[in-house]
């Protein structure tokens, strides 16, 4: 999953303020500059409520920066589009559609004919590991399975960029480890540019090429860590533990600051 050095996503002086000029004005992001390369897997790590999901939604085109420029392939992001796919923490599958119909949603929208949809669907269930659940409704699936369907739905129409908003946050530890392994496999097969929001240091280090550590609100990038460990990564390896120690200390300092802003 090495990148080819081409800039895929660029954020220049991004600032985001909610309810500007009103009583409830909150500055979520103060000033954000970052670059993500094509084919790179980056983790956006930070304390809860720091604005990392907000940033992800801006890349998705659901929200817009108050100030600054956000570029995808050198072009200003003006709204959502099928060059990006998204996976939410709460899966957000359409409950009235079966797993298959959920996965084929984007293909339907793109006007792909049914036989081509079926072929793509077969590839995806092989890749994501969904055999035997094709025609199940989401409510009958476990959390892990639902999230697999959601990942397949996001990949179905072959977007360049995969945006993941704490996708494994609601899963139990065992399922999460399994999903990590499978996501690494998916990434090796597809070479997507991935932005992965998390507040788990281990998760960030297990998955990503680089970790952007967000500061407490209003956020800036506090530091950027290159994860120079070959995959599959051993969470007990010396370098892993060293980076983990460092990131936990750095993150904890920000969590402390967040606590003093909003007592949650």
């Amino acid at each position: 999953m090495a990148s080819n050095g081409r800039v895929k996503i660029q954020a220049r002086g991004i600032q985001k303020t909610f309810n500007p000029g009103e009583d409830g004005e909150v500055r979520a992001i103060d000033r954000l500059d970052l670059e993500v390369y094509e084919g790179e897997f980056v983790a956006l790590l930070g304390p809860s409520g720091c604005g990392k999901s907000t940033f992800l939604y801006m890349v998705a085109g659901f929200a817009h920066p108050t100030q600054g420029e956000l570029l995808l392939d050198g072009k200003l992001i003006t709204g959502p589009g099928p060059d990006r796919g998204i996976v939410f923490q709460e899966y957000v599958l359409f409950p009235w559609r079966t797993a298959r119909q959920n996965i084929e949603f984007g293909l339907e929208i793109a006007g792909v004919p049914p036989d081509a949809r079926a072929r793509r669907f077969k590839e995806l269930i092989e890749l994501i590991g969904l055999k035997g659940f094709e025609d199940a409704y989401p409510q009958t699936l476990s959390g892990g399975m639902q999230q697999r369907v959601a990942i397949a739905r996001a990949l179905a129409y072959d977007p360049d960029v995969l945006l993941m908003d704490e996708p494994f946050g609601a899963l139990d530890a065992q399922t999460r480890r399994r999903m990590h392994r499978d996501l690494v496999h998916v990434e090796e097969a597809t070479h997507k540019t991935v932005l992965f929001v998390t507040h788990s240091v281990v998760e960030a280090l297990t998955l990503s090429d680089r970790v952007f550590l967000f500061s407490a609100r209003p956020s800036v990038i506090k530091e950027t860590i290159e994860v120079d460990i070959p995959r599959p990564r051993d969470v007990t390896g010396a370098r892993f533990v060293e980076l983990e120690r460092h990131l936990i200390d750095s993150l904890d300092a920000e969590v402390e600051k967040m606590m003093s802003i909003s007592p949650e």
């Binding site: 990006r84 009235w96 929208i109 409704y137």
Partner: protein, 288 residues
């Protein structure tokens, strides 16, 4: 797992369990039948006990005989299949009014859900009109449309309109933002989002509203007929029979109204729900 070590005993036990399970499933039905039969029996005894005038409180057996008689061929002045004609007339007016309301109100409700201004302007009106008992409007409707079918249909429309609007609008408004986002990122157009996301996501609310509306429509059609029908309809039949002190027909009408209402509310909507919201796991809490 057990292979050939299965003991015959276990099969017998599971057969009994299965039997019990089936019985347990039938239980609510059996209890319902017994409850109604018990009530009828008590009434029968009461009616024939001499404590009341059987002319005013006819025994259920006589009411039942009247129903059978009036469903069948005519005799004397009574035309054939009279009960079916009355029931048919009522159901026809009900469906006419209900479908007009269902279409018009669903459209308005969905639009209100999607447009904040429309919602803000229409919601006070709905909040005002919804709790007014439909029967209140019968005198006005008679002045506007005269005696007859138009008045009854109008009353049915008014009776069923508001719960549908209210629920459809609420359904759209409670569609999770992330459903819309998940669709928008695939490049879905507004029309596609409406038909592929908004409408199915609102379905459980729409069904709840329609169900409530049909119940209200049924009440409305009967009350409309009592005052405004001139020849056929269960409401007319009941009111007309009263003039002749024909209490058996009055009660026969009440029983038929109860049965048809039950079929409309319980059976038809149960089937729709099984096919949709039950399968999706999105059924909303029952409204009344």
């Amino acid at each position: 797992m057990l292979g050939d070590t299965t003991q015959p005993n276990e099969e017998a036990i599971s057969a009994i369990r299965l039997g019990r399970w089936k019985l347990a499933r039938l239980r609510p039905f059996v209890v319902s039948v017994l409850s109604l039969a018990g009530f009828a029996l008590l009434w029968e005894v009461f009616s024939r006990s001499g404590a009341v005038n059987p002319l005013l409180v006819p025994p259920p057996s006589e009411v039942f005989r009247t129903i059978v008689e009036q469903i069948g061929p005519g005799s004397g002045e009574r035309p054939s299949y009279l009960m079916l004609r009355h029931t048919g007339a009522t159901v026809l007016l009900l469906l006419a009014g209900y479908f007009i309301a269902a279409v018009a109100a669903t459209v308005l409700g969905l639009l209100m859900g999607m447009n904040r201004h429309l919602y803000e302007w229409c919601n006070p009106l709905i909040s005002f009109f919804m709790p007014i008992p439909t029967i209140t409007l019968v005198p006005v409707a008679i002045l506007w449309f005269g005696l007859g079918a138009y008045t009854v249909v109008f009353i049915v429309i008014i009776g069923s309109y508001f719960p549908i609007v209210y629920n459809a609008a609420a359904g759209v408004r409670s569609t999770p933002q992330k459903y819309i986002w998940a669709a928008r990122i695939t490049g879905a157009s507004k029309t596609q989002i409406f038909f592929k996301v908004l409408l199915p996501s609102t379905m459980s609310y729409i069904i709840a509203g329609q169900k409530l509306a049909l119940g209200r429509a049924w009440r409305a059609v009967i009350s409309g007929e009592i005052f405004a029908s001139t020849q056929y309809g269960l409401g007319f039949m009941i009111f007309d029979a009263r003039t002749f002190l024909d209490t058996e027909t009055v009660f026969a009408g009440i029983v038929i109204v109860g049965i048809v209402g039950l079929v409309l509310e319980k059976i038809i909507f149960r089937c729709i729900e099984r096919l949709t919201v039950d399968r999706w796991g999105t059924a909303t809490a029952k409204t009344i």
